[in-house]
């Protein structure tokens, strides 16, 4: 009885009600629940990416989307309309997936960053076009199987957060649903900053990554622990690592997912080297201004 009551209270307060259209184990609803607790009701959501769109379908906030290929652009219009109306009290959040942000709408995100639009741009990254049935995107990692990379992806994942950071925007961060406190702190910080804020979060995808839906959080936690998914922020150009775990071998992360099943030892070694290199570079620049 007491539990029911607690749940009812939580549900009543929650800005996400009525279930989701996402796959079991999807990181999308998990992310939005955490994010919405910080964002609060004075928020307008923009974005219509299929996976991210499914996750946002039942959010009780004013929401506007056009189509998945429209990223940051409609939010730019909303920001302008709010400015025209003199509304300073509303947070505009623009969402998109890795395909929308890394591929088809990359120029749009870059342009919104250049214009320093007053919004939080989210990249909810499940590392492929999952809604259409697991096709490779520019943010699919090296070696990952997708239906369009049946032998594993030949090229590397685009480093979008760092690219956005080089636009000179006030805030860029990476996040993971495995670290809710870190994730929420970053959203809260972004809300307090004027201008373009970019938060790139991982969205574990059991369907596309090939793992047991019950293991979503475990899998992405390993992503952080193996430095495959480093958690950092870049505030006014200064890099700060928000999580510095003792590095576990990347194989521990890769072996949790069927999409990496075909990797050869050489490929795993290559990925390990890359993770090591990234970790060293990040630690080297921790606390330093990395904007050129």
């Amino acid at each position: 009885m007491k539990n029911d009551q607690l749940f009812d209270e939580y549900y009543e307060k929650s800005l996400m009600q009525g279930g989701t259209a996402c796959c079991p184990g999807c990181g999308g609803p998990t992310f939005w629940r955490m994010a919405l607790e910080v964002l609060g009701p004075n928020t307008i959501l923009y974005g219509d990416g299929p996976c991210a769109g499914c996750a946002t379908r039942n959010i009780k906030l004013p929401r506007f989307g056009l189509h998945f290929s429209f990223v940051a652009d409609g939010a730019t219009g909303i920001v302008a309309a709010l400015a025209a109306k003199g509304r300073e009290d509303i947070t505009v959040v623009s969402g998109g997936g890795d395909g929308a942000i890394g591929d088809i709408g990359f120029g749009k995100v870059s342009a919104a960053a250049e214009r320093n639009e007053n919004m939080i741009q989210l990249c909810i990254d499940n590392e492929a076009y999952m809604n259409t049935g697991i096709q490779k995107s520019g943010l699919t990692p090296f070696g990952a199987w997708t239906t369009t990379t049946p032998q594993g992806k030949e090229n590397q994942k685009k480093r979008i957060p760092m690219v956005i950071a080089q636009h000179g925007v006030p805030y860029v961060a990476t996040a993971s649903v495995a670290y809710p406190r870190d994730l929420k702190a970053k959203i809260e910080k972004a809300m307090g900053i004027r201008g373009f804020k970019y938060i790139h979060t991982v969205m574990p995808c059991p369907t596309g990554w090939r793992f047991n839906p019950a293991k979503s959080i475990e899998v992405v936690r390993l992503g952080v622990q193996t430095w495959s998914w480093p958690l950092y922020e870049v505030e006014n150009g200064v890099l700060r690592l928000t999580m510095k775990p003792d590095p576990k071998p990347v194989e521990e992360y890769l072996s949790t997912q069927g999409r990496f099943r075909r990797l050869t030892d050489e490929q795993i070694e290559f990925i390990q080297k890359q993770a090591d290199n990234d970790r060293e570079r990040l630690l080297e620049n921790d606390g330093k201004n990395i904007q050129f």
Partner: protein, 398 residues
């Protein structure tokens, strides 16, 4: 205070947007629209116009930002041409279905390949199926007046559709004609602030994508109905505008010097000015040709055209566009054919392709077309249904 001076079409359009108190202007430059947005940028920088100017990185974003701003409750103005219109195609479909009364000037310019900076109407006519109201303007004054009318039409709660005032690049955009700029208070009185009702009234299932097909059919039918209602509103707004500002454009189509005519030429846009002179001259020679200026293309003035058909034996449609492999001729003529098909007693219908890629539509060509139409009346037959006028001149057509 109202004042009159020589003004290019693009400057007149900027005045139209300013007087309409557009609040958000997302725009990307493209010849021949550029002076329009430069004028607006300057007006905003000088503090003469209070609006958010978004310097977007492309037309696809210009339309998306327009949708976002309109959905968030702002009055939105944007403009583009040719490749820009095609670039934003994905976005152009959004405002009608979302019921966002954005106003976008289409400064007509031919589409590549064989890129031209000069006008034909394929860029705007390509949008005929998207749910935008389209009004074609002949000169600077009409551009300015039509933009103010456009907001009044689009924001009417019987309509709630986006409106595209279209005008020819260079021939209108960069040609100075005498233009009266109305008083701001008068415009404010005519055009009250945008009351944003429709989007919020839309049920959730229309906002979600993908929607259920049943809902899509219903939403599309609603747009169609709004288009049909817009026919009356366009006329009504033009009448009200005339009462207040003393200028009318006869709603959808204007009959010029048609009193004794046996046949008419139907023109669109800047060529109409030339055609007026030619028709005057030909009538002075005793030839019974009249002129119809088609101002509204969407919604299409079916009934008005049917009325014309009752009065004139032959109608010559002048198409400044192409529709390769179509059922017959240009886009306007095909629309006209469908409108006239319903009649028991159909007039002779001729179609001319002219001014493609922005070549001049000359007085000689208009006279040639008028003679062809009159010849059809005389013989009771149409010799050539679709006539590529310029190729005739060059001796290229067998």
């Amino acid at each position: 205070m109202s004042f009159t001076r020589m003004m290019e079409g693009n400057e007149a359009a900027a005045w139209g947007a300013k007087l309409s108190r557009a609040e958000v202007v997302p725009a990307y430059p493209i010849t021949p629209q550029t002076e329009l947005i430069s004028h607006i940028a300057t007006m905003i920088a000088n503090g003469e116009m209070k609006a958010q100017y978004i310097k977007v990185e492309g037309e696809h974003t210009a339309m998306a930002a327009s949708c976002g701003a309109s959905a968030a409750g702002a009055r939105v103005f944007t403009a583009s041409s040719s490749q820009g219109i095609v670039n934003m195609e994905e976005g152009i479909w959004m405002p009608p279905g979302r019921r966002l009364p954005i106003v976008m000037c289409i400064v007509n310019r031919a589409i590549a390949p064989l890129g031209s900076l000069r006008p034909d109407h394929n860029d705007s006519l390509l949008q005929r199926d998207t749910g935008w109201i389209q009004l074609y303007c002949e000169n600077s004054q009409e551009v300015l007046d039509t933009i103010i009318q456009a907001y009044k039409i689009g924001e009417d709660n019987r309509v709630y559709l986006p409106v595209a005032p279209c005008y020819d690049g260079y021939f209108v955009s960069a040609t100075a004609t005498p233009t009266t700029v109305p008083d701001q208070d008068e415009v404010d009185d005519f055009l009250p602030p945008y009351k944003h009702e429709m989007y919020n009234l839309m049920p959730d299932e229309y906002k979600a994508a993908p929607a259920f097909p049943r809902n899509i059919a219903k939403a599309r039918y609603e747009v169609q109905k709004a288009m049909e209602r817009a026919k009356e509103i366009v006329e009504e707004v033009d009448r009200d505008y005339a009462k207040r500002f003393g200028r009318s454009y006869d709603g959808f189509l204007e009959e010029y010097a048609c009193d004794d005519a046996d046949a008419v030429l139907v023109t669109m846009g800047s060529m109409t000015g030339t055609a007026r002179d030619v028709v005057d001259e030909m009538q002075a020679e005793g030839k019974k040709i009249g002129l119809v200026k088609l101002r509204g293309f969407r919604p299409f003035p079916t009934e008005e055209l049917q009325e014309l058909a009752k009065k004139y034996h032959a109608i010559g449609i002048v198409d400044r566009n192409t529709s390769y492999g179509s059922a017959g001729g240009g886009i306007v003529s095909m629309e006209a054919a469908r409108a006239l098909y319903a009649l028991d007693d159909r007039p002779l219908l001729l179609n001319f392709h002219v001014g493609l890629g922005g070549s001049d539509v000359t007085m000689r060509q208009i006279e040639y077309m008028a003679d062809k139409v009159l010849e059809a009346v005389e013989t009771g037959k149409v010799k050539e249904v679709v006539d590529w006028v310029e190729l005739h001149e060059m001796g290229e057509v067998m």
